[in-house]
């Protein structure tokens, strides 16, 4: 298991050091600094073995978190734990920076004592941690016996993510379908790979211990329901908004993963998503699709080398969705060679600039409706070099945001049942929003 956990600043100075196992000596702290943080070349692996001691590290801005072990630990678990550790710290004091860590070092030690025991990760749900470890110091001395046992039963219980007795005057929930669409396209316009990775984020303000059921236009369920002839579940049409899809009924989901509140065995047997949600904001599910993706933009590049000192670049972008919808925050990044001396750009829409420090022409458009087209052309002057190696031509990348789900996913219903309290599914106010963003959206040129 994890033998120790260290946090360093960018200079390699230790901010936090907590050792859980006897086989990890103080010199381990220095070994990581010397061999990884101060290493000359780029980090070649997130796992480093130095003198039979293994170091796992992740970086957040310029802070290094390193977990150390001498055993054959579960590597995936160690990384998951490090991410979780970052989340927990962020939810306590915001950004993970040197200053914040120094300002909260007592708190961090307390958290480390609680979420790792002898190197075994324990409860790491911020919700329940916050019931007894607070920024002002630990609660505990002034609690009644009932409160104390409530804390411990929540920390160790089956529903560790939600406490009892939550009350809201207005029961309300927000569902965000956030998708990032990834594309790699050849210069000829052939899709080399494309996938959507999506997340359903839920913000719930519900009283009591509500039982929820979530439904979407998953192909498997719809096919199933179609056979069975029971379709009245689809009645809640008020949730299905947003769409730009051309009347597509259902989508094929390649794979999905769920928050720990979802009953996985039920999903496995019936493919129904049922759960008791944590209070406040959390990520309900993640999914991935690869079939029938709506690619919101098409990029058509044309690069011509004119002699040894000049390049002509022309890039056309076409928007490919309903004309009534607007895409926002559009940015096209056209890489330029290292030996660029000057660039002249003309674009029909938006603003374009050559950024020498980034070796790219950045073309920004605030808004663009569907089924439109826009174009940029640039002349790039090059300094003559004697470098034999040809320019690698990195791909043209694109950023944007569109108000629909490129996978075609639609929320069909989210039902809330709370048997003990006096409110029904109809009393809950529900909001659904779809946002599609570009992930890695690249076209080779």
């Amino acid at each position: 298991m994890i033998g120790g956990l260290f946090i360093y600043n960018h200079k390699g100075e230790v901010l936090i050091s907590r050792v859980y196992r006897d086989d990890i000596g103080r010199n381990a702290v220095d070994a990581f600094r010397v061999n990884v943080i101060h290493a000359r070349q780029q980090v070649r692996s997130p796992v480093t073995n130095i003198a039979r001691t293994s170091f796992f590290h992740v970086k957040r801005s310029n802070i290094w978190l390193a977990a150390v072990t001498k055993q054959n630990v579960n590597a995936a678990m160690v990384f998951e734990f490090l991410y979780k550790m970052c989340d927990v710290m962020a939810s306590y004091f915001g950004k993970i920076s040197e200053e914040n860590i120094k300002n909260n070092f007592v708190l961090i030690y307390e958290l480390l004592d609680e979420i790792l025991d002898f190197g075994y990760p324990q409860n790491s749900e911020t919700g329940s941690l916050k019931t007894f470890i607070t920024q002002q110091g630990i609660k505990g001395q002034h609690q009644t016996k009932e409160e104390q046992s409530q804390i411990t039963s929540q920390v160790t219980g089956q529903i560790g993510w939600r406490r009892e007795g939550i009350k809201y005057r207005r029961n309300e929930l927000f569902l965000d379908v956030l998708e990032s669409v990834n594309l790699l396209m050849s210069p000829q316009g052939q899709v080399l790979s494309a996938h959507v990775s999506g997340r359903v984020v839920m913000k719930s303000y519900l009283s009591g211990m509500p039982e929820c059921k979530f439904g979407m236009n998953d192909k498997i369920i719809i096919d199933k329901a179609g056979k069975g002839g029971v379709t009245n579940e689809a009645g809640k049409s008020d949730l299905g908004g947003g769409g730009s899809t051309s009347g597509k009924q259902s989508i094929a989901i390649d794979d999905c993963t769920f928050n720990q509140c979802v009953r996985l065995s039920k999903f496995d047997s019936e493919r129904s998503i049922s759960f008791i949600p944590p209070d406040g904001e959390y990520e309900l599910m993640r999914y991935r699709t690869t079939k029938d993706i709506i690619l919101p933009f098409r990029v058509i590049p044309l690069v011509r080398e004119v002699g040894r000192t000049k390049l002509e670049v022309k890039v056309v972008i076409k928007s490919n969705f309903k004309p009534s919808l607007l895409a926002q925050k559009i940015e096209v990044r056209i890489p330029t060679p290292l030996n660029t001396s000057g660039v002249q750009v003309i674009c029909m829409k938006g603003k374009a600039k050559y950024k020498a420090s980034e070796n790219a022409i950045v073309w920004k458009i605030k808004r663009m409706a569907g089924m439109k087209e826009s174009q940029i052309s640039a002349e790039i002057e090059l300094l003559p070099t004697n470098d034999k190696k040809k320019w690698a031509r990195p791909p043209i990348s694109m950023n944007f945001e569109v108000p629909f789900a490129p996978s075609g996913l639609k929320v069909r219903y989210l039902k809330v049942f709370e048997s003990k309290l006096n409110y029904s599914d109809h009393d809950v106010i529900k909001w659904v929003r779809y946002i599609g963003r570009s992930g890695i959206y690249e076209t080779r040129c």
Partner: protein, 965 residues
């Protein structure tokens, strides 16, 4: 520490003072100031002071001098202060064990506090204080906490048992904590169950043979139930524990798989990977024609692909594991090639791993896409990545024959870029392509030759020289090209020198007239001016070949080379199986068995995939660990003699920590390299058999197939035993096991065979009794052996001259030779025999005592013994116990001598006789032994050292058999 000195502004949280100020003071006399503050009456001031102490501790300052003052602050109601003091205690208690005792009372008191959080905190912290004296006081509170009414306390106490076990294992056993811990597996609270499982798994790891984690269908069922309810971390502990279980049959295996599959949808990648591990392992037991089997295969692909959208570090772990999974079961991901395409912004470690998997998945169906991608990668920036991409193109050519032509033309395009490292890498892979498709792409040689001057890496130079030598007859100026390399011969690396030597000899054999001078030049450079023995030897061999028999030289040097295989970098199957059992862990990231990077006894245990068992039969192995571990008992610590005699100092040498290994691990040197364990073992079994194989003459230095390094087994052993066969007679008295029935009449249509093996006067004999229990006469007997570990084969025909009538019995003795074909068997001394008669052919297998392979000249010189003992790595040593043997050491020695186990020296230390013995096997392997006999103690201890540790178990069995008969 610079930053501790900085003055930080307290600008956060409005007026609230923040912690960073504690890092700020480093004036002289700081310790005194702190001391005063710690003893202050004001609570707030105390707390501030402790915070300062902790801050200093973090940056590595020694604040241990404040120990008594800090411990004094422990008696407080303030939980925050208490936690800080505990943190301090955990750090310094070990350096001040006497003072740490001062804290005990508070701990014991806190363990009875009304607040469960405080009870848990106390028991958690107490376990972290690694002071022996404290542990005694820990037992009582721990016992109470294990039975506490609050689950939070119980789950903390469960982990505390593992902590205590790490400090004092004996204490934990004596106090019966292990049983209490086992009970917690049935606890009502899932988190308690998960922590108990984690603690037990860890303790079980250091007791490989104990049956601590008594996994049976009932306990498995409990674990599977808890799996649905506990935290993500708990699920990981439980799944990792499940993976150690071996289901009794395919039905149980399937039902566990069914209950584990839902975990594949968990958001935590570690849960997913651990579930994949369980499924991959249990799938082995399912029949392949089962519908469920193919369903399961289909279910595995999507979650594995999803792992690739995780954060880069996790992607890396996932990719390393997918690499193993693809090798084990390529069918799972064969349609998912695209997801492994490299993204421009991927970190380099992700890129390299993706590339590796792309090559493994390349097939005729997707090769066009793969090639297009690889060509793209070859223009990237990172040198390592580009090299690997170029190499990958070559591997595609070798793997998918239809694509070879396109690959070659792609490589030629890349050579045209003139980027130095791309060209060199391309030439190295083109050489491999030539070996796979000889006489097909020679047209490209001209292009390659143009780049001769730009090659500066040994591997590329060697590859180019090989190409020139191999195709010397088609390259007009081959002699000039090779001559140009010859100028700086002594500055070249060995690889290039060897290659150049071979290439010029090839050239000479192909064009003898004009190159005589050149070949003489290179031979003299290699033999007279070089210090490198390899080069000299190769030079002499060529020289002698050329001068004595040029025809033979041609046959050797220009022999047809075996084609190289498609997959040259697959992980060796046994290692792969072991790594599959470690999916998700560091071992799977490093692609090395845990023993290669974990110290001590932990993780030395080799895991294996279960074998398929039908529901009818059931195996009696509840735990893979024990099944794989064999029956080797734990070793007793070696006694290190103090006198400085000959054998004494050999023992002193490198035996410092007594090796307490479970099963005799295969040679560690090889494990570290991740090399072919089985092959290596076999190689060493082959002993002195190093022949002039044509491959050697062909001198294909950079052949991609990894040849297991021959473990320098004594050369000439192979010859030695040939002479032995007719050899020096020894007095009778060798141990002969009693005859047993090998082939019952039921199975062989009435023919019953029983027999034994014996070594008489240096000849190995198989003594058989054939009984005809059928009604008809049997004639035409013949016998044959399958290939076996020591090359045993019948030296003559089976002498049954008269027909065997009904109810007749005949005794035959069949002389055996040890020059037959060799194949490693399991167990090592297994022999598969076929006997034929006029009715049918019958097969049976039997085990021979390895003692019949002990040759008569197995007595080693004392000096040689000493040197050899030192030379064999300690990992190759195995220890065994021989129980209930009532011989004294002299009697034992003479008895063993009868079976060619020779005593070389005897020493007596403190009433214990130590006998040092040597044994030589018919294939030249030496086994060295140390037998310890204590007067009045019927249990002997024997340590065996051998370069081929696989034989140790068999040799031990012989000792036991000889001594007890």
């Amino acid at each position: 520490m610079e930053w501790a000195n900085q003055l930080c502004e307290n600008r956060q949280f409005g007026s609230k003072m923040t912690d960073s100020k504690y890092f700020t003071t480093t004036k002289k006399g700081e310790i005194f100031e702190l001391k005063a503050e710690l003893n202050s009456d004001k609570k707030e001031k105390k707390k501030e002071a402790v915070k300062k102490v902790i801050a200093s501790m973090t940056v590595g300052k020694d604040v241990s001098a404040l120990f008594p003052d800090v411990v004094n602050c422990m008696q407080t109601d303030n939980l925050e202060l208490k936690k800080l003091v505990y943190l301090y205690l955990m750090n310094y208690a070990k350096s001040q064990p006497d003072m740490a005792i001062m804290a005990v009372n508070t701990f014991v008191k806190d363990c009875e506090d009304a607040n469960p959080l405080i009870r848990a905190l106390a028991v958690r912290t107490m376990g972290c204080i690694r002071v022996d004296k404290i542990t005694e006081y820990l037992c009582e509170p721990l016992r109470k906490c294990l039975k506490d009414e609050d689950p939070y306390v119980r789950k903390t106490a469960a982990v505390c048992v593992a902590k205590l076990h790490d400090i004092n294992a004996q204490l934990v056993e004596d106090q019966g904590f292990l049983d209490t811990l086992k009970d917690l597996i049935s606890d009502s609270n899932p988190m308690v169950v998960a922590n108990a499982v984690a603690a037990l798994s860890e303790i079980a790891e250091s007791h490989p043979n104990s049956n601590l984690l008594d996994l049976n269908p009932q306990s498995i069922n409990k674990l599977l139930t808890a799996l649905n309810e506990c935290t993500e971390w708990g699920q990981i502990f439980i799944l990792d524990c499940l993976a150690n279980y071996t289901p009794r049959d395919d039905r149980e295996s399937q039902s566990i798989c069914e209950r584990v599959t839902p975990r594949l949808s968990h958001a935590n990648s570690a849960v997913v990977l651990s579930a994949v591990k369980v499924l991959m392992k249990f799938m082995e037991m399912l029949p392949k024609d089962l519908d469920y089997y193919s369903t399961l295969l289909k279910k595995l692909a999507p979650p594995l692909v999803t792992l690739l959208s995780a954060e880069p570090e996790l992607q890396y772990v996932a990719l390393r594991n997918i690499n193993l999974i693809v090798q084990k079961r390529p069918e799972i991901l064969k349609h998912e090639m695209k997801v492994f395409f490299v993204k421009y912004n991927d970190p380099i470690y992700v890129k390299l791993e993706k590339l590796d998997i792309m090559i493994r998945l390349a097939s005729q169906a997707n090769i066009a896409q793969v090639l297009a991608e690889l060509k793209e990668y070859a223009t990237e920036v990172d040198v390592d990545f580009v090299r690997k991409a170029v190499r990958a193109i070559g591997r595609c050519a070798i793997k998918v024959e239809q694509s070879a032509e396109r690959c070659v033309s792609t490589l030629l395009d890349l050579i045209q870029t003139k980027v130095n490292y791309v060209v060199q890498e391309a030439i190295v892979v083109i050489k491999d392509i030539f070996r796979k498709y000889p006489n097909k792409y020679e047209s490209v040689i001209a292009t390659l030759c143009e780049n001769l001057d730009s090659l500066d890496e040994p591997e590329a130079r060697a590859a180019m020289i090989w190409i020139v030598g191999e195709y010397a007859e088609r390259i007009d100026n081959a002699d000039e090209l090779l001559e140009s390399f010859l100028e700086g011969f002594h500055d070249e690396s060995t690889q290039v020198q060897l290659q150049l030597l071979t290439a010029i000899v090839k050239l000479f054999l192909k064009k003898p007239t004009e190159t005589q001078e050149l070949v003489q030049q290179v031979l003299s450079l290699a033999t007279q001016d070089s210090d490198n023995p390899d080069l000299r030897d190769r030079g002499y061999i060529y020289w002698r070949l050329l001068s004595t028999d040029p025809v033979a030289a041609k046959e050797v040097v220009l022999a047809e080379k075996p084609l190289i295989s498609e997959e040259t970098d697959l992980i060796e199957p046994t290692l792969l199986e072991e790594l599959i059992c470690h999916i998700g862990t560091l071992a799977s990231v490093y692609h090395k068995p845990p023993s290669a990077f974990v110290e001590g006894s932990r993780g030395v245990m080799h895991k294996r995939l279960p074998a398929r068992t039908g529901s009818g039969e059931s195996t009696e192995s509840p735990d893979v660990g024990t099944a794989a571990g064999g029956s080797a008992p734990e070793a007793a610590p070696s006694i290190i003699p103090s006198q400085g005699d000959l054998l004494g100092d050999l023992l002193n040498l490198d035996m410092a920590p007594p090796t307490t290994s479970g099963p005799p691990p295969p040679t560690t040197g090889m494990q570290m390299g991740g090399m072919d364990l089985l092959g290596g073992g076999l190689d060493s079994l082959l002993g002195g058999d190093i022949g002039g194989s044509p491959a050697m003459g062909a001198g294909f230095g950079a052949a991609p197939a990894v040849m297991p390094a021959s473990l320098n087994a004594p050369v000439g052993g192979g010859l030695g035993d040939l002479f032995d066969l007719g050899g020096v007679g020894m007095p009778m008295g060798a141990y002969i096991p009693p005859k047993i029935v090998w082939l019952p009449a039921m199975k062989a249509k009435g023919l019953e065979i029983s027999g034994t093996f014996a070594r008489r006067a240096g000849v190995i004999q198989m003594e058989l009794i054939l009984t005809n229990k059928a009604m008809s006469v049997m004639t035409d007997f013949a016998i044959q052996f399958n290939r076996n570990s020591f090359g045993l084969a019948p030296a003559g025909p089976l002498q049954v001259l008269t027909p065997l009538g009904p109810n007749q019995t005949i005794e035959v003795s069949l002389p055996l030779s040890t020059v037959g074909p060799v194949m490693k068997m399991d167990p090592l001394n297994n022999l598969q025999v076929a006997v034929k008669n006029n009715i049918d052919v019958f097969y049976f297998s039997c085990q021979y005592p390895i003692s019949m392979l002990f040759v008569e000249d197995g007595k080693m010189e004392r000096q040689v013994f000493l040197a050899t003992w030192k030379d064999i790595p300690n990992d190759n040593e195995s220890q065994f116990q021989i129980k209930d043997c009532h011989l004294n050491s002299d009697a034992a020695s003479s008895k063993l001598q009868g079976s060619n186990i020779f005593t070389i020296a005897k020493r007596t230390v403190e009433g214990q006789d130590m006998l040092y013995m040597s044994i030589k096997l018919s294939n030249g392997i030496w086994v060295l032994a140390e037998l310890r006999v204590q007067a009045g103690n019927p249990n002997y201890t024997i340590s065996l050292k051998c370069r081929a540790p696989e034989v140790s178990q068999c040799v031990f069995q012989c000792y036991e058999a000889v001594l007890k008969n």
